[in-house]
Amino acid sequence: MTKSISASLPEVVPNQVRLTQQVRLCYLPMEHCKGNYLSLRFLLPLGEMTSTCALLPYVLSRGSNEYPDIDAIDRAADLLYGAEISPMVGSEGEWQVIGFSASFLADRMAPDGCEILDGVLHLLSSLLLSPRTEGATLLPEYVESEKVKLCDRLRSLKDNPDLYAIKRSEELMCAGESYALYERGEESQVAAVTPEALTGAWQNLLSTAPLCITYAGDCALERLKPLLLSRFGRLTATPAPLPPTEVIRQAKGELRRFTEKLPTGQCQLIIGLRSGSVIGDEDHAAFSLLYAMLSSAPTARLFTKVREERSLCYSCSALSDSHKGILLITCGLRRERLQEAEDAIFDQLRALARGDFTDEEFESAKRWLMGRYPILEDSPIALAGWYFSRSPLGLAESPRTEAERIRRVTRADVMHAAGRLSPDTVYTLLDRSRTRKEVSHEN
């Protein structure tokens, strides 16, 4: 018989270390891994500087004083056994997250004794703290070139109808909230960024924003800490507290409907709901289990009932933002199935709220979800992501603690969580043969 692994493998215990007033380290010892992961993430409120800041990591990753261009950066990274250094732009609730991430081989695995970790830290600090400049300004050539490329990427979102539909539905659903701002920037605003403005944003970042470093790997803390201090110890500002994410727990007014059109072969249906629950809530575990029963577990109703049993669509799943408290149900389908699919999805939500599910379905989803948490300890990137997403709220529960919370969730808790879901917006992206930007609001 195989044993319960969760019991037999030691838990990865994080160590939160304040390196300076501005720089915090979340250290995750993962000695068994051949790969290491390190991220440098600055947290900023979504706002008028979001598009400018979305551009910054890309420009910084173009060159530094020591590594003047991408050729030099990539050559250095490749010689470090293919260290993957990536600019990061993302969000957690209404905070924009920008910085760098690095995935790299553990020193012990290098056949020739290459000191990979030290090399990676050297490269990262060079990019972040000593970018290439012209005078005191970030190199205009790099700024202009990255502006064009970011605008291209933003424009090409329309080439991926499913992603485009999600972005548009969030914008429309959360209009008037900071959350509606796209963390990767808006094309017109990115196009207007000047090298001087971007330089100001970079200086502001280094002098005011909290830097969260997350490391997961096999390097001992005693060795890592001085290495990090030698590279980032000059960041000593006292950051201002971040404004909290605005959480709207109940949809206001009637269900809003929006329809747009794109020349694609499939329609996209997005149902936006306020979940009434956010990370850190006492009963958030109930929402997590509801989400599993609805979308992520193998028995998930959107898959088994809407897609498989009724063949209403090719894809049907959900996304949730647990900082913001919203749930988006997404569906790729043919136009003639739109109404039927929408009805079927709402039927499933009502059924869950009524408790119209078997004990077997409930227990299997719970078992599956509890099994997902230990898996995070298998992956440096996944575990680093888990702790980072909780850090702005001062939360540091381990995945295993969360699994225990899930264990205690009852049927009634799930029904209550489903009953709290309030439909806010239905967004439809229709297929058609020619492009014409069109938004209709059908209240």
Binding site: T2, S6, L9, G82, L105, D152, P298, W368, D378
Partner: protein
């Protein structure tokens, strides 16, 4: 049982053949996640087959359709539900060369493995279940056709290959899968899903002995031998089908693909050629290649170049992809990079080889990647550890020799997707 200890990767694999004929590979990993795949060497390219002496021309998409239908259970439920009931997550995929069903879990591994072995080797196809699957896969085909990346990929394969079935999409088409019947699916299943035609690959905290015990429980008695199977090869000419193909599409930016066909020799050393092709691709067309940087810096391409290198006993190619507002300049640069390649500079070579090794070593941290790659290499007539050794032993001279095989301009083709004007 054969234990292979591999010092370079610090990993080991235990392989054995179960009395049922099942080939088993066990990769012990001290991780929470168990991952198991049960694969057969029947993929989308296997269209012309003889089963028990009878010749079949299978419709395109047969392997993928069969993969979907494997999950149907006689009581009308599906195998996903059985996995789900014990907290396991199941899935399946079809490639050009193989099909595999898989699951991952963190507990109750033994039960999950029993379910996998039982449902994959049993079959239950009816007119009703086959008909029900047609619109689902039809939507999957539609989604692929909506994707510029998938379309470009299919276009370049069609340009590269004249006859080889790799030129057809893995999913087939709505009309091809409509020709499938329960009888044909049953015949194909009997031939390719007998334990003697399957390979089980397991990664996690479990020993080979424990896996063998589970196999004993599922297949306690000797099994009748499987039907005889002959995979009829397609004689693919060395020259490409069409040097250039252009498609107008609803995209905002052109995308291009430059492909080079590499037909394997009968005695091809697959791990060695695969390692050389990967490193050569990285050096000439990788994200961090000098060419990618140059084109990006000049504004010729958006993002970076990317490439796919594949070689097995049936087919092989190197395909380079780029998003670009200057498709002609990009393609000319790609052609020149190969034509002008002579010798790799020592540091370029070292950087690319280290990068490939680093990627491979890091992938072994995941039971999913380790088991999947281990199985994929076996299905390609290779071996993951032999591939790692070949990468480690590769020399610049190997790249020069391989590049010489690729340089014949009649072996390369290009595909473009351009915005509608």
């Amino acid at each position: 049982m054969k234990t292979e200890i591999h010092p370079l990767t610090d990993e080991r694999a235990v392989t054995f053949t179960h009395p049922s004929g099942l080939t088993v590979c066990v990769l012990e990993k001290p991780l929470h996640t168990y991952y198991a795949l049960l694969g057969t060497g029947f993929g989308s390219i296997h269209r012309e087959v003889k089963i028990d002496g009878v010749r079949y021309r299978l419709p395109d998409g047969t392997a993928h359709f069969l993969e979907h239908k494997l999950f149907d259970q006689p009581d009308g439920s599906d195998a996903f539900t059985r996995f789900a009931a014990i907290g396991a997550d199941a899935n399946a995929f079809t490639t050009y060369l193989s099909t595999a069903c898989l699951f991952d879990c963190t507990e109750r591994f033994n039960q999950a493995l029993e379910i996998l072995l039982r449902f994959v080797t049993a079959s239950h196809f009816t007119d009703e279940t086959v008909a029900k699957e047609l619109p689902i896969i039809g939507e999957e085909i539609a989604a692929d056709r909506d994707s510029p990346a998938e379309t470009l990929y299919n276009d370049i394969l069609k340009a590269l290959y004249q006859k080889h079935p790799v030129r057809q999409p893995i999913l087939g088409s709505r009309s091809s899968i409509a020709r499938l019947t329960p009888e044909l699916l049953t015949t194909v299943h009997r031939a390719f899903y007998h334990p003697a035609r399957l390979t089980l690959c397991v990664a996690g905290r479990i020993s080979a002995e424990e896996v063998a015990q589970i196999c004993d429980r599922v297949f306690p008695d000797p099994l009748p031998p499987p039907p005889t199977v002959e995979l009829l090869p397609t004689r693919e000419p060395a020259a490409v089908c069409k040097a250039r193909t252009v498609r107008r599409w609803n995209v905002t930016q052109p995308t291009v693909a430059f492909g080079i066909k590499l037909l394997p020799a009968p005695d091809e050393d697959i791990p060695r050629t695969a390692a050389a092709l990967e490193v050569l691709g990285c050096l000439l067309f990788g994200e961090s290649s000098a060419l990618s940087h140059q084109l990006y810096r000049e504004g010729t391409i958006s993002g970076s170049l990317s490439f796919e290198a594949t070689v097995n006993h049936s087919f092989g190619h190197l395909i380079v992809f780029a998003n670009t507002d200057h498709p002609e300049e990009t393609l000319a640069a790609l052609r020149s990079a190969l034509a002008d390649f002579d010798n790799a500079a020592p540091e370029d070579f070292l950087a690319c080889r280290r990068m490939e090794l680093g990627d491979l070593f890091r992938s072994l941290d995941s039971t999913e990647e380790f088991a999947s790659d281990y199985l994929a290499h076996r299905m390609e007539g290779s071996n993951l550890f032999a591939y790692a050794d070949a990468l480690s032993a590769l020399t610049p001279a190997d790249l020069t020799a391989l590049a010489d095989r690729l340089k014949d301009p009649t072996h390369s083709a290009e595909a473009l997707i351009l915005p509608k004007t």
